[in-house]
Amino acid sequence: MSFMSFVHDPHTQLARRAFIGQSGLLLSGAAIALMAGRDALAKGHEAGASDARILNTALGAELEAVAAYQVGAESGLLEKSVLDLAVVFQGHHKEHADLLAKTIQTLGGKPVEPKDKYMFPVDTLKTQADVLAFAAMLEKGAVSAYLGAVPVFDNRDLSKAAASILGDEAMHWAVLRHALGQDPVPSAFVA
């Protein structure tokens, strides 16, 4: 039985909760979102459609982030340790994108596809610091975007999943700021 089918089978809900609790997935954004998508279907089409639309916008941004990290990784400007970090962060964005796409499908929506081509300000990326600053800018924007999305989901479990992703993006942003020699956590709140 796949995880998806396990999550979606209403007859396994008790076992599902036990599985999640025992496997350390209690706070997993993936588990939360997939289950939330299923629950949203039961709430009605309009709520699900609205949530799917919000998730699709987030998916578009995540796919762009994956492409942006690829540009950075292939720039030849990153030293090995920074390159390794960028690849890890890119992997996180891929995981976010996969989760969002699956949840959109669960909600009955059609996930957006990666664009054939993305525009990035590559002419301004001349040094490792330029690449890090560009990535930091995207991550900060992502934090704000998820923060703005958290309150607008009809399904509050999707808000929780979005908050889980927000936390990851905020960690990326802090690490990138630290790598740039900036205060990694410049304030007590994000906006």
Binding site: I54, E64, G141, P151, V152
Partner: protein, 125 residues
């Protein structure tokens, strides 16, 4: 949906627009940078050419049906209203963002967008 959208737009009371600060607005604009850029389309449409532009009209950008049929022309007042609560102003918009409830922050952002639209980033051919 389209009629409902226009109804929501026209029936809402426009919030007052405060005096904005460009520098603060530039900082607030960083919140938009997951999806928007000034001079090229991303997940959201570019902001160069925003003022006076009918909503949903940037070529080569795929808008929601709701935005395409919103009958909005972007100016200080319409931006102020939309940014307050995008999903309320245009139900069905793809901009799944709660909005900027603080009037001063909206004013700062709008005055920055106006300044940026007059900058070389937006005016160079």
């Amino acid at each position: 949906m389209e009629g409902g959208c226009a109804l929501v737009w026209l029936s809402a009371t426009p919030p007052a627009l405060a005096d904005g600060d460009v520098l603060r607005g530039e900082g607030i604009y960083t919140r938009c940078l997951a999806c928007h850029a000034l001079n090229y389309n991303r997940t959201g449409p570019k902001h160069c050419g925003l003022f006076g532009r009918p909503a949903g009209s940037v070529p080569d950008f795929v808008y929601s049906e709701a935005m395409k049929h919103s009958d909005i022309v972007w100016n200080e007042e319409s931006l102020n209203q939309f940014l307050t609560a995008p999903l309320t102003a245009v139900p069905g918009t793809s901009m799944g963002y709660a909005g900027i409830p603080d009037a001063q922050e909206r004013a700062d952002l709008i005055v920055y967008l106006k300044k940026a639209n007059d900058s070389a980033v937006c005016t160079k051919k």
